[in-house]
Protein backbone atom coordinates (compact mmCIF):
# COMPACT_ATOMS: atom_id res chain seq x y z
CA UNK A 1 0.00 0.00 0.00
CA UNK A 2 1.31 3.43 -0.83
CA UNK A 3 1.33 5.94 1.97
CA UNK A 4 1.05 9.69 1.78
CA UNK A 5 4.81 9.92 2.33
CA UNK A 6 5.51 7.79 -0.74
CA UNK A 7 3.26 9.91 -2.90
CA UNK A 8 4.66 13.21 -1.70
CA UNK A 9 8.22 11.91 -1.94
CA UNK A 10 7.81 10.60 -5.49
CA UNK A 11 9.39 12.45 -8.33
CA UNK A 12 7.31 13.34 -11.35
CA UNK A 13 9.65 11.55 -13.75
CA UNK A 14 10.58 7.91 -13.45
CA UNK A 15 14.11 8.23 -14.83
CA UNK A 16 16.54 10.86 -16.04
CA UNK A 17 15.76 9.90 -19.62
CA UNK A 18 12.05 10.49 -19.08
CA UNK A 19 12.96 13.89 -17.69
CA UNK A 20 15.17 14.85 -20.63
CA UNK A 21 12.64 13.51 -23.12
CA UNK A 22 10.05 15.93 -21.81
CA UNK A 23 12.18 18.95 -22.75
CA UNK A 24 11.65 20.70 -26.06
CA UNK A 25 15.34 21.62 -26.19
CA UNK A 26 16.23 17.90 -26.31
CA UNK A 27 14.20 17.38 -29.47
CA UNK A 28 15.45 20.54 -31.13
CA UNK A 29 19.01 19.58 -30.27
CA UNK A 30 18.43 16.10 -31.71
CA UNK A 31 17.14 17.69 -34.92
CA UNK A 32 20.23 19.88 -35.13
CA UNK A 33 22.56 16.90 -34.54
CA UNK A 34 20.72 14.83 -37.16
CA UNK A 35 20.97 17.67 -39.66
CA UNK A 36 24.72 17.95 -38.97
CA UNK A 37 25.22 14.19 -39.41
CA UNK A 38 23.26 14.16 -42.64
CA UNK A 39 25.23 17.11 -43.97
CA UNK A 40 28.54 15.49 -43.07
CA UNK A 41 27.56 12.45 -45.13
CA UNK A 42 25.92 14.34 -48.00
CA UNK A 43 28.57 17.00 -48.53
CA UNK A 44 32.32 17.03 -48.10
CA UNK A 45 32.34 20.75 -47.25
CA UNK A 46 30.17 20.81 -44.11
CA UNK A 47 32.59 19.09 -41.76
CA UNK A 48 35.56 21.14 -42.97
CA UNK A 49 37.26 23.29 -40.34
CA UNK A 50 36.56 26.46 -42.27
CA UNK A 51 32.83 25.84 -42.52
CA UNK A 52 32.40 24.73 -38.93
CA UNK A 53 34.29 27.83 -37.80
CA UNK A 54 31.92 30.03 -39.81
CA UNK A 55 28.82 28.27 -38.51
CA UNK A 56 30.05 28.58 -34.93
CA UNK A 57 30.73 32.27 -35.31
CA UNK A 58 27.61 33.21 -37.25
CA UNK A 59 25.21 31.56 -34.87
CA UNK A 60 26.92 33.02 -31.79
CA UNK A 61 25.64 36.56 -32.50
CA UNK A 62 22.02 35.47 -32.78
CA UNK A 63 22.37 33.09 -29.83
CA UNK A 64 23.79 35.78 -27.52
CA UNK A 65 20.79 38.03 -28.13
CA UNK A 66 18.41 35.06 -28.03
CA UNK A 67 19.43 34.51 -24.40
CA UNK A 68 18.41 38.08 -23.60
CA UNK A 69 15.23 37.62 -25.60
CA UNK A 70 14.45 34.42 -23.68
CA UNK A 71 14.55 36.39 -20.43
CA UNK A 72 12.09 38.92 -21.86
CA UNK A 73 9.77 36.31 -23.38
CA UNK A 74 9.82 34.16 -20.22
CA UNK A 75 8.72 37.23 -18.25
CA UNK A 76 5.74 37.55 -20.58
CA UNK A 77 7.08 40.41 -22.71
CA UNK A 78 8.68 40.92 -26.10
CA UNK A 79 11.59 43.07 -27.22
CA UNK A 80 11.50 44.11 -30.89
CA UNK A 81 14.22 46.73 -30.47
CA UNK A 82 17.22 44.37 -30.20
CA UNK A 83 18.22 44.66 -33.87
CA UNK A 84 18.33 48.44 -33.51
CA UNK A 85 20.22 48.20 -30.23
CA UNK A 86 22.80 46.14 -32.13
CA UNK A 87 23.38 48.82 -34.73
CA UNK A 88 23.32 51.60 -32.12
CA UNK A 89 25.94 49.85 -30.03
CA UNK A 90 28.09 49.05 -33.08
CA UNK A 91 27.81 52.63 -34.28
CA UNK A 92 28.65 54.14 -30.91
CA UNK A 93 31.76 52.00 -30.53
CA UNK A 94 32.95 52.72 -34.07
CA UNK A 95 32.34 56.46 -33.90
CA UNK A 96 33.99 56.64 -30.48
CA UNK A 97 36.99 54.61 -31.55
CA UNK A 98 37.33 56.52 -34.83
CA UNK A 99 37.49 59.71 -32.77
CA UNK A 100 40.53 58.30 -30.98
CA UNK A 101 39.08 56.82 -27.79
CA UNK A 102 40.45 53.51 -26.54
CA UNK A 103 38.63 50.22 -27.15
CA UNK A 104 37.57 49.75 -23.53
CA UNK A 105 36.07 53.20 -23.07
CA UNK A 106 34.29 52.95 -26.40
CA UNK A 107 32.95 49.51 -25.53
CA UNK A 108 31.56 50.87 -22.25
CA UNK A 109 29.93 53.74 -24.15
CA UNK A 110 28.40 51.29 -26.62
CA UNK A 111 27.02 49.07 -23.86
CA UNK A 112 25.79 52.18 -22.05
CA UNK A 113 23.89 53.31 -25.16
CA UNK A 114 22.25 49.90 -25.49
CA UNK A 115 21.41 49.84 -21.78
CA UNK A 116 19.73 53.24 -22.12
CA UNK A 117 17.46 51.81 -24.81
CA UNK A 118 16.63 48.94 -22.44
CA UNK A 119 16.05 51.35 -19.56
CA UNK A 120 13.63 53.40 -21.66
CA UNK A 121 11.81 50.24 -22.78
CA UNK A 122 11.60 48.99 -19.21
CA UNK A 123 10.35 52.24 -17.68
CA UNK A 124 7.66 52.73 -20.31
CA UNK A 125 6.50 49.12 -20.02
CA UNK A 126 6.71 48.65 -16.24
CA UNK A 127 5.88 52.08 -14.84
CA UNK A 128 3.76 53.63 -17.61
CA UNK A 129 2.05 50.29 -18.18
CA UNK A 130 2.34 50.44 -21.97
CA UNK A 131 2.30 47.23 -24.05
CA UNK A 132 5.80 45.85 -24.66
CA UNK A 133 5.09 45.29 -28.35
CA UNK A 134 4.29 48.96 -28.98
CA UNK A 135 7.06 50.41 -26.83
CA UNK A 136 9.79 48.27 -28.39
CA UNK A 137 8.36 48.87 -31.86
CA UNK A 138 8.90 52.55 -31.14
CA UNK A 139 12.46 52.12 -29.91
CA UNK A 140 13.14 49.78 -32.85
CA UNK A 141 12.57 52.75 -35.10
CA UNK A 142 14.13 55.39 -32.85
CA UNK A 143 17.40 53.59 -32.02
CA UNK A 144 18.21 52.84 -35.67
CA UNK A 145 17.49 56.42 -36.60
CA UNK A 146 19.83 57.54 -33.82
CA UNK A 147 22.57 55.32 -35.27
CA UNK A 148 22.06 56.99 -38.66
CA UNK A 149 22.27 60.46 -37.14
CA UNK A 150 25.39 59.48 -35.24
CA UNK A 151 27.22 58.20 -38.34
CA UNK A 152 25.61 60.55 -40.86
CA UNK A 153 24.60 57.24 -42.51
CA UNK A 154 28.19 56.60 -43.65
CA UNK A 155 30.07 53.34 -43.44
CA UNK A 156 32.81 53.33 -40.79
CA UNK A 157 35.82 51.06 -41.31
CA UNK A 158 38.62 52.94 -39.54
CA UNK A 159 38.55 52.40 -35.80
CA UNK A 160 41.37 54.67 -34.63
CA UNK A 161 44.39 53.57 -32.55
CA UNK A 162 42.75 50.40 -31.14
CA UNK A 163 41.58 49.20 -34.57
CA UNK A 164 43.43 45.88 -34.16
CA UNK A 165 41.90 45.12 -30.76
CA UNK A 166 38.34 45.50 -32.01
CA UNK A 167 38.98 43.22 -34.98
CA UNK A 168 40.66 40.69 -32.69
CA UNK A 169 37.79 40.71 -30.20
CA UNK A 170 35.04 40.23 -32.78
CA UNK A 171 36.78 38.39 -35.59
CA UNK A 172 39.73 36.64 -33.99
CA UNK A 173 40.05 33.16 -32.60
CA UNK A 174 41.84 31.38 -29.78
CA UNK A 175 42.62 27.62 -29.85
CA UNK A 176 40.81 27.49 -33.17
CA UNK A 177 37.52 28.74 -31.76
CA UNK A 178 36.08 32.15 -32.70
CA UNK A 179 35.90 34.66 -29.86
CA UNK A 180 32.14 35.27 -30.05
CA UNK A 181 31.74 31.58 -29.22
CA UNK A 182 33.65 32.09 -25.95
CA UNK A 183 31.40 35.02 -25.05
CA UNK A 184 28.35 32.93 -25.87
CA UNK A 185 29.57 29.97 -23.80
CA UNK A 186 30.25 32.15 -20.76
CA UNK A 187 26.88 33.88 -21.10
CA UNK A 188 25.03 30.57 -21.49
CA UNK A 189 26.59 29.07 -18.37
CA UNK A 190 26.11 32.18 -16.24
CA UNK A 191 22.51 32.73 -17.35
CA UNK A 192 21.55 29.07 -16.98
CA UNK A 193 22.67 29.32 -13.36
CA UNK A 194 21.02 32.71 -12.86
CA UNK A 195 17.67 31.58 -14.32
CA UNK A 196 17.55 28.55 -12.05
CA UNK A 197 19.33 29.50 -8.86
CA UNK A 198 18.71 33.18 -8.16
CA UNK A 199 15.66 35.09 -7.00
CA UNK A 200 15.94 37.27 -10.09
CA UNK A 201 15.54 34.22 -12.31
CA UNK A 202 12.84 32.62 -10.24
CA UNK A 203 10.81 35.83 -10.03
CA UNK A 204 11.22 36.43 -13.74
CA UNK A 205 9.41 33.16 -14.46
CA UNK A 206 6.84 33.96 -11.77
CA UNK A 207 6.01 37.27 -13.49
CA UNK A 208 5.71 35.48 -16.82
CA UNK A 209 3.32 32.83 -15.56
CA UNK A 210 1.11 35.04 -13.36
CA UNK A 211 1.98 38.69 -12.98
CA UNK A 212 -0.89 39.33 -10.58
CA UNK A 213 0.34 36.57 -8.28
CA UNK A 214 3.86 37.98 -8.39
CA UNK A 215 2.55 41.39 -7.31
CA UNK A 216 0.49 39.88 -4.48
CA UNK A 217 3.46 37.94 -3.09
CA UNK A 218 5.41 41.18 -2.82
CA UNK A 219 7.89 40.68 -5.65
CA UNK A 220 9.15 44.07 -6.91
CA UNK A 221 7.64 43.43 -10.34
CA UNK A 222 8.26 46.87 -11.86
CA UNK A 223 11.92 47.08 -10.93
CA UNK A 224 12.44 43.53 -12.10
CA UNK A 225 10.85 44.24 -15.48
CA UNK A 226 13.15 47.21 -16.06
CA UNK A 227 16.15 45.03 -15.29
CA UNK A 228 14.92 42.35 -17.70
CA UNK A 229 14.63 44.77 -20.63
CA UNK A 230 18.02 46.21 -19.73
CA UNK A 231 19.50 42.72 -19.79
CA UNK A 232 18.03 42.07 -23.22
CA UNK A 233 19.45 45.36 -24.49
CA UNK A 234 22.80 44.48 -22.90
CA UNK A 235 23.03 41.24 -24.89
CA UNK A 236 22.20 43.20 -28.05
CA UNK A 237 24.90 45.75 -27.23
CA UNK A 238 27.40 42.97 -26.64
CA UNK A 239 26.54 41.37 -29.98
CA UNK A 240 26.83 44.79 -31.66
CA UNK A 241 30.42 45.23 -30.45
CA UNK A 242 31.38 41.70 -31.54
CA UNK A 243 29.73 42.13 -34.95
CA UNK A 244 31.53 45.43 -35.53
CA UNK A 245 34.84 43.63 -34.92
CA UNK A 246 33.86 40.64 -37.06
CA UNK A 247 32.74 42.68 -40.08
CA UNK A 248 35.54 45.24 -39.80
CA UNK A 249 33.08 47.88 -40.94
CA UNK A 250 29.78 49.19 -39.68
CA UNK A 251 26.85 50.37 -41.76
CA UNK A 252 23.44 51.48 -40.55
CA UNK A 253 21.69 48.39 -41.94
CA UNK A 254 23.53 46.14 -39.49
CA UNK A 255 21.12 43.99 -37.48
CA UNK A 256 18.16 44.81 -39.69
CA UNK A 257 15.31 42.32 -39.12
CA UNK A 258 17.59 40.51 -36.68
CA UNK A 259 14.93 40.70 -33.93
CA UNK A 260 12.81 38.25 -35.92
CA UNK A 261 15.59 35.66 -36.20
CA UNK A 262 16.33 36.12 -32.51
CA UNK A 263 12.69 35.62 -31.51
CA UNK A 264 12.54 32.58 -33.80
CA UNK A 265 15.63 31.11 -32.11
CA UNK A 266 14.18 31.68 -28.64
CA UNK A 267 10.82 30.18 -29.58
CA UNK A 268 12.33 27.14 -31.31
CA UNK A 269 14.43 26.68 -28.18
CA UNK A 270 11.34 26.45 -25.99
CA UNK A 271 10.60 30.02 -24.88
CA UNK A 272 6.83 30.39 -24.53
CA UNK A 273 5.41 33.67 -25.84
CA UNK A 274 2.65 33.37 -23.22
CA UNK A 275 5.39 33.67 -20.59
CA UNK A 276 6.81 31.51 -17.85
CA UNK A 277 8.93 29.18 -19.95
CA UNK A 278 12.35 29.27 -21.60
CA UNK A 279 15.97 28.32 -21.03
CA UNK A 280 19.33 29.83 -21.96
CA UNK A 281 20.48 26.54 -23.48
CA UNK A 282 17.27 26.32 -25.50
CA UNK A 283 17.90 29.75 -27.02
CA UNK A 284 21.41 28.67 -28.03
CA UNK A 285 20.21 25.40 -29.55
CA UNK A 286 17.42 27.24 -31.38
CA UNK A 287 19.92 29.68 -32.87
CA UNK A 288 22.22 26.79 -33.79
CA UNK A 289 19.44 24.98 -35.61
CA UNK A 290 18.55 28.08 -37.64
CA UNK A 291 22.19 28.56 -38.65
CA UNK A 292 22.60 24.87 -39.57
CA UNK A 293 19.49 25.05 -41.76
CA UNK A 294 20.81 28.20 -43.43
CA UNK A 295 24.25 26.70 -43.95
CA UNK A 296 22.95 23.38 -45.24
CA UNK A 297 20.76 25.02 -47.87
CA UNK A 298 23.79 26.85 -49.20
CA UNK A 299 26.00 23.75 -49.16
CA UNK A 300 23.35 21.58 -50.80
CA UNK A 301 23.02 24.14 -53.57
CA UNK A 302 19.39 24.92 -52.79
CA UNK A 303 18.36 28.47 -53.59
CA UNK A 304 18.62 30.77 -50.57
CA UNK A 305 15.10 31.90 -51.40
CA UNK A 306 13.95 28.69 -49.71
CA UNK A 307 15.61 29.65 -46.41
CA UNK A 308 12.59 31.46 -45.02
CA UNK A 309 10.36 28.51 -45.87
CA UNK A 310 12.51 26.07 -43.91
CA UNK A 311 12.97 28.32 -40.88
CA UNK A 312 9.29 29.23 -40.87
CA UNK A 313 8.30 25.57 -41.02
CA UNK A 314 10.62 24.82 -38.15
CA UNK A 315 9.18 27.55 -35.92
CA UNK A 316 5.69 26.17 -36.42
CA UNK A 317 6.75 22.52 -36.08
CA UNK A 318 8.66 23.24 -32.86
CA UNK A 319 5.69 24.97 -31.26
CA UNK A 320 3.16 22.46 -32.60
CA UNK A 321 5.30 19.65 -31.23
CA UNK A 322 5.19 21.22 -27.79
CA UNK A 323 1.41 21.57 -28.07
CA UNK A 324 0.89 17.90 -28.93
CA UNK A 325 3.15 16.77 -26.12
CA UNK A 326 1.08 18.76 -23.63
CA UNK A 327 -2.13 17.31 -25.04
CA UNK A 328 -0.97 13.81 -24.27
CA UNK A 329 0.16 14.65 -20.73
Amino acid sequence: MTTLDDIIGNSEHRSWFARIRSLQVFWVFSAAVLACLALTLLTDTFASDRNLFNVARNFAFVAIIAIGMTAVIASGGIDLSVGSSVVLSAMVISVAMASGLSFWISALLALGAALLVGLLNGILIAYAGMPAFVVTLGTLSAARSLAMVLSDNKMIWEFGPDHGILLWVGGGSTFGLPHPLYVLTALTIVMSLVFRWTRWGQHLFAIGSNENAAVLTGIPVKRLKVSIYMFSAFTAGLAGILMAGWLGSVTTNLGQAMELTVIAAAVIGGANLAGGEGTALGAVVGALLIEVIRNSLILLGISTFWQGMFIGTFIIVAVAFDRFRNFRA
Binding site: L4, D5, I7, I8, G9, N10, S11, E12, L193, W197, T198, R199, Q202, H203, F205, A206, G208, S209, N210, N212, A213, A214, L216, T217, G218, I219, G275, G276, E277, A329
Partner: protein
Protein backbone atom coordinates in the same frame (compact mmCIF):
# COMPACT_ATOMS: atom_id res chain seq x y z
CA UNK B 1 -9.48 35.91 24.67
CA UNK B 2 -10.88 36.38 21.18
CA UNK B 3 -8.45 36.06 18.30
CA UNK B 4 -9.96 38.96 16.38
CA UNK B 5 -12.54 41.49 17.46
CA UNK B 6 -13.82 44.13 15.09
CA UNK B 7 -16.17 46.70 16.49
CA UNK B 8 -18.21 49.36 14.74
CA UNK B 9 -16.34 49.09 11.45
CA UNK B 10 -17.73 51.38 8.75
CA UNK B 11 -16.44 52.11 5.29
CA UNK B 12 -17.70 54.55 2.74
CA UNK B 13 -16.44 55.21 -0.76
CA UNK B 14 -17.62 58.72 -1.51
CA UNK B 15 -21.39 58.68 -1.17
CA UNK B 16 -21.58 54.89 -1.08
CA UNK B 17 -21.81 53.33 2.36
CA UNK B 18 -20.19 49.90 1.81
CA UNK B 19 -20.17 48.86 5.48
CA UNK B 20 -22.06 50.40 8.37
CA UNK B 21 -20.97 49.65 11.91
CA UNK B 22 -20.09 45.98 11.62
CA UNK B 23 -19.03 44.20 14.82
CA UNK B 24 -17.79 40.64 14.78
CA UNK B 25 -15.43 38.37 16.67
CA UNK B 26 -13.65 35.11 16.00
CA UNK B 27 -12.00 32.68 18.44
CA UNK B 28 -8.84 30.62 17.99
CA UNK B 29 -9.55 27.42 16.07
CA UNK B 30 -12.92 28.67 14.92
CA UNK B 31 -14.25 28.64 11.37
CA UNK B 32 -16.44 31.62 10.52
CA UNK B 33 -18.58 31.42 7.39
CA UNK B 34 -19.09 34.91 5.99
CA UNK B 35 -21.99 35.13 3.60
CA UNK B 36 -23.95 37.71 1.68
CA UNK B 37 -25.11 38.59 -1.79
CA UNK B 38 -22.88 40.26 -4.35
CA UNK B 39 -22.23 43.81 -3.22
CA UNK B 40 -23.25 43.12 0.38
CA UNK B 41 -19.82 44.20 1.64
CA UNK B 42 -18.06 40.85 2.13
CA UNK B 43 -15.00 41.76 0.08
CA UNK B 44 -14.82 45.22 1.62
CA UNK B 45 -14.81 43.73 5.11
CA UNK B 46 -12.19 41.15 4.16
CA UNK B 47 -10.03 43.77 2.49
CA UNK B 48 -10.15 45.91 5.61
CA UNK B 49 -9.01 42.95 7.73
CA UNK B 50 -6.28 42.12 5.19
CA UNK B 51 -5.00 45.70 5.22
CA UNK B 52 -6.04 46.66 1.68
CA UNK B 53 -8.38 49.41 2.94
CA UNK B 54 -8.42 51.58 6.04
CA UNK B 55 -11.87 51.63 7.68
CA UNK B 56 -13.67 55.00 7.81
CA UNK B 57 -14.62 54.31 11.43
CA UNK B 58 -14.32 51.56 14.02
CA UNK B 59 -11.47 49.53 15.43
CA UNK B 60 -9.87 46.10 15.26
CA UNK B 61 -8.20 44.13 18.06
CA UNK B 62 -6.04 41.08 17.65
CA UNK B 63 -5.74 39.11 20.88
CA UNK B 64 -6.73 42.21 22.80
CA UNK B 65 -4.24 44.51 21.11
CA UNK B 66 -5.55 47.38 18.98
CA UNK B 67 -4.22 47.29 15.39
CA UNK B 68 -4.31 49.63 12.40
CA UNK B 69 -3.32 48.25 9.00
CA UNK B 70 -2.13 50.68 6.36
CA UNK B 71 -0.85 48.05 3.93
CA UNK B 72 -1.31 44.28 3.45
CA UNK B 73 2.17 43.67 4.87
CA UNK B 74 1.05 45.20 8.21
CA UNK B 75 -1.72 42.61 8.42
CA UNK B 76 0.69 39.80 7.50
CA UNK B 77 3.01 40.83 10.33
CA UNK B 78 0.10 40.37 12.74
CA UNK B 79 -0.48 36.87 11.38
CA UNK B 80 -3.33 37.50 8.95
CA UNK B 81 -3.03 35.61 5.66
CA UNK B 82 -5.30 35.70 2.65
CA UNK B 83 -5.99 32.98 0.08
CA UNK B 84 -7.26 34.73 -3.05
CA UNK B 85 -10.06 33.39 -5.17
CA UNK B 86 -7.79 32.94 -8.21
CA UNK B 87 -5.21 31.51 -5.75
CA UNK B 88 -2.42 33.74 -7.11
CA UNK B 89 -0.22 30.83 -8.19
CA UNK B 90 2.46 30.75 -10.86
CA UNK B 91 1.55 27.84 -13.12
CA UNK B 92 5.02 27.29 -14.49
CA UNK B 93 6.75 27.01 -11.13
CA UNK B 94 6.80 23.98 -8.87
CA UNK B 95 4.56 23.64 -5.84
CA UNK B 96 7.50 24.28 -3.51
CA UNK B 97 8.56 27.39 -5.45
CA UNK B 98 5.02 28.72 -5.19
CA UNK B 99 4.87 28.14 -1.46
CA UNK B 100 8.07 30.14 -1.02
CA UNK B 101 7.51 32.71 -3.79
CA UNK B 102 8.90 36.07 -2.74
CA UNK B 103 10.61 34.67 0.38
CA UNK B 104 12.93 32.01 -0.99
CA UNK B 105 15.50 30.68 1.47
CA UNK B 106 19.03 31.43 0.26
CA UNK B 107 22.36 29.68 0.81
CA UNK B 108 25.76 31.21 0.32
CA UNK B 109 28.68 29.78 -1.58
CA UNK B 110 31.40 32.32 -0.86
CA UNK B 111 30.03 35.64 -2.09
CA UNK B 112 27.44 33.94 -4.30
CA UNK B 113 23.93 33.48 -2.97
CA UNK B 114 21.65 30.85 -4.43
CA UNK B 115 18.18 29.46 -3.74
CA UNK B 116 18.08 26.53 -1.34
CA UNK B 117 15.77 24.19 -3.31
CA UNK B 118 16.44 21.21 -1.05
CA UNK B 119 15.20 23.11 1.98
CA UNK B 120 12.18 24.44 0.06
CA UNK B 121 11.18 20.95 -1.05
CA UNK B 122 11.57 19.48 2.43
CA UNK B 123 9.53 22.19 4.13
CA UNK B 124 6.86 22.12 1.40
CA UNK B 125 6.60 18.31 1.64
CA UNK B 126 6.20 18.66 5.42
CA UNK B 127 3.40 21.21 4.98
CA UNK B 128 1.56 19.05 2.45
CA UNK B 129 1.86 16.12 4.81
CA UNK B 130 0.32 18.17 7.62
CA UNK B 131 -2.50 19.11 5.27
CA UNK B 132 -2.81 15.43 4.29
CA UNK B 133 -2.76 16.49 0.66
CA UNK B 134 -1.26 14.28 -2.04
CA UNK B 135 0.77 17.11 -3.51
CA UNK B 136 4.35 16.65 -4.66
CA UNK B 137 6.59 19.65 -4.01
CA UNK B 138 8.55 19.21 -7.25
CA UNK B 139 5.53 19.07 -9.56
CA UNK B 140 4.54 22.04 -11.68
CA UNK B 141 1.38 23.72 -10.44
CA UNK B 142 0.08 23.76 -14.04
CA UNK B 143 -0.47 20.01 -13.90
CA UNK B 144 -2.34 20.01 -10.59
CA UNK B 145 -6.00 19.52 -9.73
CA UNK B 146 -8.11 22.26 -8.14
CA UNK B 147 -7.76 20.66 -4.72
CA UNK B 148 -3.99 20.41 -4.99
CA UNK B 149 -3.75 24.00 -6.12
CA UNK B 150 -5.77 25.04 -3.09
CA UNK B 151 -3.38 23.03 -0.92
CA UNK B 152 -0.44 24.91 -2.41
CA UNK B 153 -2.11 28.26 -1.73
CA UNK B 154 -2.93 27.22 1.84
CA UNK B 155 0.56 25.81 2.45
CA UNK B 156 1.90 29.23 1.49
CA UNK B 157 -0.10 30.87 4.27
CA UNK B 158 1.13 28.27 6.78
CA UNK B 159 4.75 29.19 6.12
CA UNK B 160 4.45 32.20 8.39
CA UNK B 161 2.56 30.49 11.26
CA UNK B 162 -0.61 32.56 10.76
CA UNK B 163 -3.28 33.32 13.38
CA UNK B 164 -6.06 34.00 10.90
CA UNK B 165 -6.48 32.66 7.37
CA UNK B 166 -9.12 34.23 5.16
CA UNK B 167 -10.28 32.29 2.12
CA UNK B 168 -12.23 33.85 -0.73
CA UNK B 169 -14.59 31.38 -2.46
CA UNK B 170 -12.25 28.39 -2.13
CA UNK B 171 -14.86 25.92 -3.35
CA UNK B 172 -16.17 27.81 -6.37
CA UNK B 173 -15.54 26.17 -9.74
CA UNK B 174 -14.02 22.89 -8.59
CA UNK B 175 -15.32 19.33 -8.69
CA UNK B 176 -17.30 17.70 -5.90
CA UNK B 177 -14.41 15.43 -4.90
CA UNK B 178 -12.09 18.42 -4.74
CA UNK B 179 -14.57 20.38 -2.64
CA UNK B 180 -14.37 17.60 -0.04
CA UNK B 181 -10.58 17.87 -0.20
CA UNK B 182 -10.65 21.63 0.35
CA UNK B 183 -13.09 21.37 3.24
CA UNK B 184 -10.70 18.85 4.81
CA UNK B 185 -7.88 21.36 4.41
CA UNK B 186 -9.96 23.94 6.27
CA UNK B 187 -10.54 21.44 9.12
CA UNK B 188 -6.78 20.83 9.36
CA UNK B 189 -6.21 24.57 9.74
CA UNK B 190 -8.84 24.69 12.48
CA UNK B 191 -7.22 21.72 14.23
CA UNK B 192 -3.98 23.67 14.36
CA UNK B 193 -5.74 26.46 16.28
CA UNK B 194 -5.88 28.79 13.29
CA UNK B 195 -9.00 30.92 12.90
CA UNK B 196 -10.48 30.63 9.42
CA UNK B 197 -12.76 33.15 7.77
CA UNK B 198 -14.50 31.48 4.86
CA UNK B 199 -16.20 33.64 2.29
CA UNK B 200 -18.51 31.58 0.15
CA UNK B 201 -21.76 31.45 -1.76
CA UNK B 202 -22.05 27.71 -1.43
CA UNK B 203 -24.34 27.13 1.52
CA UNK B 204 -23.69 23.36 2.03
CA UNK B 205 -19.92 23.91 2.08
CA UNK B 206 -20.19 26.69 4.62
CA UNK B 207 -22.45 24.70 6.93
CA UNK B 208 -20.31 21.57 6.76
CA UNK B 209 -17.20 23.29 8.18
CA UNK B 210 -18.27 26.47 9.94
CA UNK B 211 -18.66 26.86 13.70
CA UNK B 212 -20.23 30.25 13.24
CA UNK B 213 -22.03 32.01 10.39
CA UNK B 214 -22.22 35.74 9.76
CA UNK B 215 -24.46 37.33 7.15
CA UNK B 216 -24.05 40.75 5.56
CA UNK B 217 -26.82 42.54 3.75
CA UNK B 218 -26.29 45.95 2.13
CA UNK B 219 -23.33 46.72 4.37
CA UNK B 220 -24.99 45.67 7.59
CA UNK B 221 -24.38 42.62 9.71
CA UNK B 222 -27.80 40.97 9.98
CA UNK B 223 -26.74 37.78 11.73
CA UNK B 224 -23.78 36.33 13.62
CA UNK B 225 -24.57 33.07 15.36
CA UNK B 226 -23.46 29.47 15.88
CA UNK B 227 -23.90 27.41 12.74
CA UNK B 228 -25.63 24.73 14.79
CA UNK B 229 -28.41 27.20 15.63
CA UNK B 230 -28.92 28.30 12.07
CA UNK B 231 -29.83 26.63 8.81
CA UNK B 232 -29.26 27.16 5.10
CA UNK B 233 -32.92 28.22 4.80
CA UNK B 234 -32.54 30.88 7.46
CA UNK B 235 -29.31 32.21 5.94
CA UNK B 236 -30.90 32.37 2.48
CA UNK B 237 -33.73 34.40 4.00
CA UNK B 238 -31.24 36.68 5.71
CA UNK B 239 -29.26 37.22 2.53
CA UNK B 240 -32.30 38.11 0.45
CA UNK B 241 -33.97 40.15 3.19
CA UNK B 242 -36.95 37.83 3.62
CA UNK B 243 -35.84 37.51 7.25
CA UNK B 244 -34.89 40.85 8.78
CA UNK B 245 -32.32 39.78 11.41
CA UNK B 246 -31.49 36.70 13.46
Amino acid sequence: MSRLVISGISKSFGAIQALSSVSLSIEPGEVLGLMGDNGAGKSTLVKIIAGNFLPSAGEMRIEGKGVVFHRPIDAQREGIEMVYQDLALSDNLTAASNVFLGREPMRSFGPIKYIDYAHMNTVAAELFKQLKSETRPRDLVRKMSGGQRQAVAIARTLLSEPKIVMMDEPTAAISVRQVAEVLDLIRRLRDRGISVILISHRMPDVFSVSDKVAVLRRGQLVASKAAAHSSPEEVTGLITGAIETA
